[in-house]
Amino acid sequence: MKIDLSVLGSTELISLMLMSLYRGAGYRRYRMDRFEEYDLYVKNKDFLVSDSVLTFTDTNGRLMALKPDVTLSLIKSIRPKRGELSRLYYSESVYRPSRGDNGFREISQTGVECMGDIDFGTEKEILSLALDSLSLCGERHILEVSHAALLSCFVDALGISDSARHRLMGQIWTKNLHDASALMASSGAGCAASERLLRLLDLCGGPSEVLPRAGELAATADEKKHLAELEQVCCGMDSLQIDLSAVSDSSYYNGIVFRGYVDGIPRRVLSGGRYDVLLQRLGYDASAVGFAVYMDELERIDIPVAALGSAEV
């Protein structure tokens, strides 16, 4: 039977293309239940985009939630361990508060996760898949990469209090360097450490341009180690954009973090990173890296569906 592909909307089509891409790269589909025990989110609230979760009581009296996130449930189902590597992709709905009002929205996400033994090769593979995913969404796209632990080292060197650090990370996330400078000065941060951080945050561009300059700033063994990791992962991928300030204040990411943008779409369409810390918090001694593509951001994208013709099934 022939199916006319023009019956599909842009997001349905992109989702199919993404799943085909991931399957072709050797990833296995993982399907999940729509519900999860609320307890999982209570314990890991700071991993979620929002504290608000849609809950209900099931027939056994257990408090359940409509999933606000896919990764936590995936970890729970896979039970990752050392000596193995699970390569999975999914296409699922999550339920999150909408920004414009007090209601909730169903958001469709398609993504990949690698869990178990992760090496630089796996991280490179994930970055490469992220770039290919963005290519399917739009010709002009940018994948911006940073390193959570590297930025953390530079911030640790300031020797400021936890509350000042939390505020500073928020300012870094919004590139608000004018308020960040004032905060560092008023929080007793050392001048040299503050200056060094501001110079790091100013670095933005391709890996071959930015990483050597970051190398001039890295002082401690840990900083040099994290920078070497970033160099190894980004090596040969000149289309990446390095922006070392692009790290949200999440304690779960410990290595590379990245976000993808497509020209014409105002928000990030893809985000991901290395999150070993989350696995450890959930009691698994393993590593993980992955990303999600936010299909709701792609609804208005112009894909010439009609030009695709039909598919034989």
Binding site: I142, K175, N176, Y261, D263, R267, R268
Partner: protein, 215 residues
């Protein structure tokens, strides 16, 4: 999509000062300051498009990409927390976010403190940092009148010269933060039009420093 840089300006006196600053850096545009009902203005040579929006809406226009950049008061940025970059302090429209109370008022902590404000998020965050239980009365304007009529005990609002407070028998009891106009940028626009945006931000920053030195 064209190559114009879309700039959202806040309607009102602050917006006019902001436009003058942009124009002095070479980003002028005919008609922006004319007394008309038009809201959108273009300069094809400079590839800039200005539009006037309500000051509280600038963050939304920029976050959702209708504007690449915009200028918003720090008060509205803190209150509405748009997901944007805040890349510059234009040092215009400077004032303070403050708590004020009727002269002689002391908060003995014995009752829930009633707070009138246009900024419920800022007020809640400030008092919760002190562990003080409050009852927020959200108003749209003329906040100073609330304690005078017994509607609330105190207010949280922006204070410029303090004259309105004084004339209504109120005085500042605490300053929450300094406020000024900030240059905000859409996260995706910063990626795709970074050069154009950084050039503009650099020129604005130089002009602001020159002005500060001149004073």
């Amino acid at each position: 999509m064209d190559d114009y840089l879309n700039i959202a300006l806040p309607k009102g006196r602050l917006g006019e000062d902001v436009y003058s600053l942009f124009a002095s850096c070479g980003y002028e545009c005919d008609g922006v300051m004319d007394d008309s009902r038009r809201l959108v203005f273009e300069n094809p040579e400079r590839q800039v498009r200005y539009f006037w929006v309500k000051p509280w809406d600038v963050g939304v226009y920029v976050e959702r990409g209708a504007a690449d950049i915009g200028v918003a008061g720090k008060d509205t940025i803190i209150e509405t927390a748009p997901d944007v970059f805040e890349i510059g302090d234009l040092r215009l429209g400077r004032c303070r976010m403050a708590c004020a109370a009727p002269d002689g008022f002391t908060d003995d902590g014995g009752t829930v403190l009633r707070v009138a404000t246009k900024y419920p998020n800022i007020a809640r965050s400030y008092y919760s940092s002190m562990g003080r239980e409050i009852d927020i009365v959200k108003l749209s304007g003329s906040i100073e009148i609330a304690p005078l009529l017994g509607l609330t005990d105190v207010i949280v609002d922006i204070v410029e010269t303090g004259r309105t407070l004084r004339e209504n028998g109120l005085s500042v009891t605490d300053v929450i933060s300094d406020i000024s106009a900030r240059l905000i940028v859409n996260r995706a626009s910063y990626r795709f039009r970074g050069e154009q945006i950084r050039e503009l931000a650099g020129k604005l920053s130089s002009r602001i420093s020159e002005e500060a030195e001149r004073r």
